[in-house]
């Protein structure tokens, strides 16, 4: 028993020193040298200011921007406290949240998409993401929003649609995962383009 305990203490110290500290520290050093941007959170700077990360959704409320999916974090799109909504598939609160989100989308996009009904609203527009900071929206949701953004910015629809497709991440290697549109990168591209 005491022999086992002594061995456990020694092994514990060695493992902590090597696997718990030395290896991660060396790995961090390597990461900072070889993959500086990724290692520090894929941050995006504009005019020397960090404006966000390409891997985190941020709040967009103005009509001139593409909007993200709903977020269950507090406050929304908190990239330092990610969370699911955890609303079960039959929870009345989910039904209420979906209806509320759908009404908001109809109100916002309806004027720019004549004849828009709830049946055309893609499901990702009315549901929270897993992380609360899903950086992507579906192509369907992006196309829906493109009409509004083009109108508000007085840009030809085709210009906005071109930016959408430029900021669409296809499946990895053309096969794994699903396509999505990175909203922050798309909005940055729009701002770069100018337009009122």
């Amino acid at each position: 028993m005491l022999r086992d305990l002594r061995a456990s203490v020694v092994a514990g110290v060695i493992f902590t020193a090597v696997l718990g500290l030395a290896v991660p520290a060396l790995f961090t050093g390597f990461a900072q040298l070889a993959f500086t941007s990724q290692a520090n959170g894929s941050l995006i700077t504009r005019n020397g200011v960090v404006v966000g990360s390409r891997l985190a959704a941020q709040a967009f409320t103005k009509p001139r921007y593409f909007h993200e999916r709903p977020s269950a974090t507090s406050p929304p799109y908190n990239a330092a406290a990610t969370t699911f909504s955890n609303l079960g598939p039959t929870n009345p609160a989910l039904a209420k949240a979906v209806q509320q989100n759908a009404r908001a989308v109809l109100k916002l996009e309806g004027p720019y998409n004549p004849g828009l009904t709830i049946h055309q609203i893609p499901v990702d527009a009315v549901t929270t993401s897993g992380s609360g900071i899903d950086p992507d929206i579906s192509l369907a949701y992006a196309q829906l929003q493109a009409h509004r953004v083009a109108a508000v910015r007085h840009l030809p629809l085709s210009t906005v649609q071109k930016l959408v497709s430029e900021n669409t991440d296809g499946r990895s290697l053309g096969f794994f995962g699903e396509s999505g549109v990175n909203v922050l990168e798309l909005n940055l591209a729009l701002d770069k383009l100018g337009g009122s």
Partner: protein
């Protein structure tokens, strides 16, 4: 659906294709008298000298078990202390406070048992020191313990008239240094290159395009993610686990992470076949696992694509098309869609991993039933590193016993007679945890203290409770995450975590010890063959009949009633 099924098919093929060479490699790790070159061997000898063990001095099962227990309890105390004291330790740039006592208790139990159930949000609760030298260290070590025990049990099956099973320190060291560390470094670099952070820098304040301030948590993520996936751990750096882009940035990382969940567990079946010189028997064990895995995906994927009643009746567009994946996107990420999330939910509960790339509480009734069933089977479909296969051994012994009864002969497994003692160990190993799950679920449901943890109303709230105790008792760690932390749930969970880890572990070692002492009897005309498809079918049947029937009444109260009434 076609593209999704193609991804799942490619996944299965790659898993088996990589599992085979890995299994042969792992067999040599545990059987070679001296492993690696002169330099590596010297480092290894140095470790044994410091620890004070003679690598040639093997242990019987009781001695092996004692060392495992002392070692695990030692680290339980250390991990508890680290969490409580983290405010006073270094690598705490975000000034996280000490973890409250009940949470630290549950979390320490959770990580030393290879579970990684998380009643906390990592990025907002744990310092970098705790994440790295506390939690991620246990992701290495607890996985190493599981593999060591498996190696010992397999030796018991392979040997004849032997009193010993191996030396724990040798098995642990080799698991860590020759299996988990190199694989983690490789996967860690790939994840890093794709966007997993690896920094000691603090949380960043970003100034968003609309002029608000956004906090972005970072840390030493990439390496932890690798061992989290490879060691069937599952405890994420971030609260939302691998659905967070910083843990899992794109489709390729998702593929690699979900592959890493089952890679070593698939490899260990080949390792078993090599070590006991019964490749065809191992192939049948693997076949039964593949069948159960595919059945799980075949239920979960269409269920999620079909969507929940709330979403279907809401009127929004949930139809799959080239513009969206559609289906039940609640608590799922766009870049993974339905197929990859359903695949992950199945794989993570086939094994004792418990990481998620979407919220399980939001799964549809039947999509969420698959993980519960997988876990309730004891996570033997590939299973946890080490624990999955030794868990499967219990079912194999029971299957062989039932076959023996049917033909009226003494049952045999790989030349060893299965007698009363072995059946007892296998029965305890297979039935203790399911019994405990039902008991703890009942306690939680019948008490006010237990009910306080429930988040969703009606049948789904029952499912949350069932999921919580199934997950913790089977050392999985995934959750219907609405299920909340109370002092009561933390303590009851800690009981589930400890007993769920060590009762089967001790049963397996006892089984290995008992089998090791036996002679090998030559196969006769009356021997039930364990290397043909009949055996695989029998094995699947035994799993479904023992664990499946036990959980069925509970499922009717949760997912089944939820799925049928809506």
């Amino acid at each position: 659906m076609g593209q999704g099924m193609a991804q799942i098919a490619v996944y299965t093929v790659v898993l088996i294709g990589l599992g085979y060479p890995l299994g042969l490699y792992m067999a040599s790790v545990y059987t070679a008298p001296r492993f690696g070159g002169r330099w590596l061997a010297a480092v290894e000898r140095g470790f044994y000298r410091l620890v004070g063990t003679d690598p040639d001095n093997e242990q019987d099962w009781k001695s092996y078990a004692k060392t495992v227990l002392v070692f695990s309890i030692f680290f339980f105390v250390v991990l508890y202390a680290i969490q409580r004291l983290q405010a006073h330790l270094f690598l705490n740039p975000n000034h996280d406070k000490g973890v409250p006592a009940h949470l630290a208790l549950n979390t320490a139990a959770s990580f030393i048992t290879n579970t990684n159930w998380q009643y906390y949000g990592g990025e907002s609760t744990m310092s970098y020191f705790t994440q790295m030298a506390g939690l991620a260290l246990q992701q290495f070590v607890s996985a190493g313990v599981g593999m060591a025990v498996l190696a010992a049990v397999i030796r018991g099956i392979a040997r004849r008239s032997a009193g010993t099973l191996g030396n724990f320190w040798v098995d642990l060291y080799r698991s860590l240094v020759y299996i988990f560390l190199p694989l983690s470094l490789i996967l860690g670099v790939v994840l890093l290159s794709q966007g997993d952070p690896q920094t000691f820098g603090a949380t960043v304040s970003a100034h968003t395009l609309e002029g608000a301030v956004q906090q972005i948590a970072r840390g030493p993520v990439a390496l932890m993610l690798a061992i989290k996936q490879l060691g069937t751990n599952g405890g994420g750096f971030y609260n939302s686990n691998s659905s967070v882009p910083f843990e899992n940035p794109n489709g390729i990382t998702n593929f690699l992470e979900v592959l890493a969940i089952l890679l070593i567990p698939a490899g260990q079946v080949f390792m078993f076949g090599k070590m006991v010189l019964a490749k065809r028997h191992a192939a049948m064990v693997l076949a039964s696992m593949v069948v159960l895995f595919l059945v799980g995906v075949a239920i979960a994927f269409p269920a999620e694509q079909h969507g929940s009643q709330v979403l279907r009746s809401s009127g929004v567009n949930i139809t799959h098309s080239s513009l969206q994946s559609g289906g039940n996107m609640n608590d799922k990420e766009v870049r993974f869609g339905i197929a990859d999330t359903a695949l992950w939910a199945t794989a993570t509960t086939d094994a004792s991993n418990g990481s998620v790339d979407g919220g399980h509480d939001a799964l549809t009734a039947f999509g969420g039933m698959v993980p519960i069933l997988n876990m309730f089977f004891g996570e033997v479909v590939f299973g946890g590193v080490g624990s999955g296969l030794y868990g499967m051994f219990f079912y194999i012994v029971i299957a062989v016993f039932i076959a023996g009864l049917m033909v009226g002969r003494t049952p045999e497994w790989l030349g060893k007679k299965i007698e009363a003692r072995e059946i007892k160990y296998a029965a305890v190993g297979a039935l203790f945890v399911p019994t405990m799950v039902l008991t703890l679920t009942a306690i939680s449901i019948a008490t006010k203290l237990g009910l306080a943890s429930i988040f969703n109303p009606a049948a789904h709230g029952f499912s949350e409770t069932l999921y919580a105790y199934t997950s913790q008792s089977n050392n999985n760690g995934s959750a219907f995450a609405g299920f909340g932390l109370t002092n009561f749930s933390a303590e009851l969970g800690a009981v589930a975590l400890f007993l769920g880890r060590f009762v089967p572990l001790l049963s397996a070692l006892a089984l290995g010890g008992a089998l090791g002492k036996k002679k090998i009897v030559p196969a006769s005309a009356g021997t039930f063959r364990t290397d043909g498809p009949t055996f695989a079918i029998l094995l699947v049947g035994v799993i479904l009949l023992t664990a499946g029937l036990m959980v069925f009444p509970a499922l009717t109260l949760g997912p089944i009633v939820e799925g049928l009434t809506h």
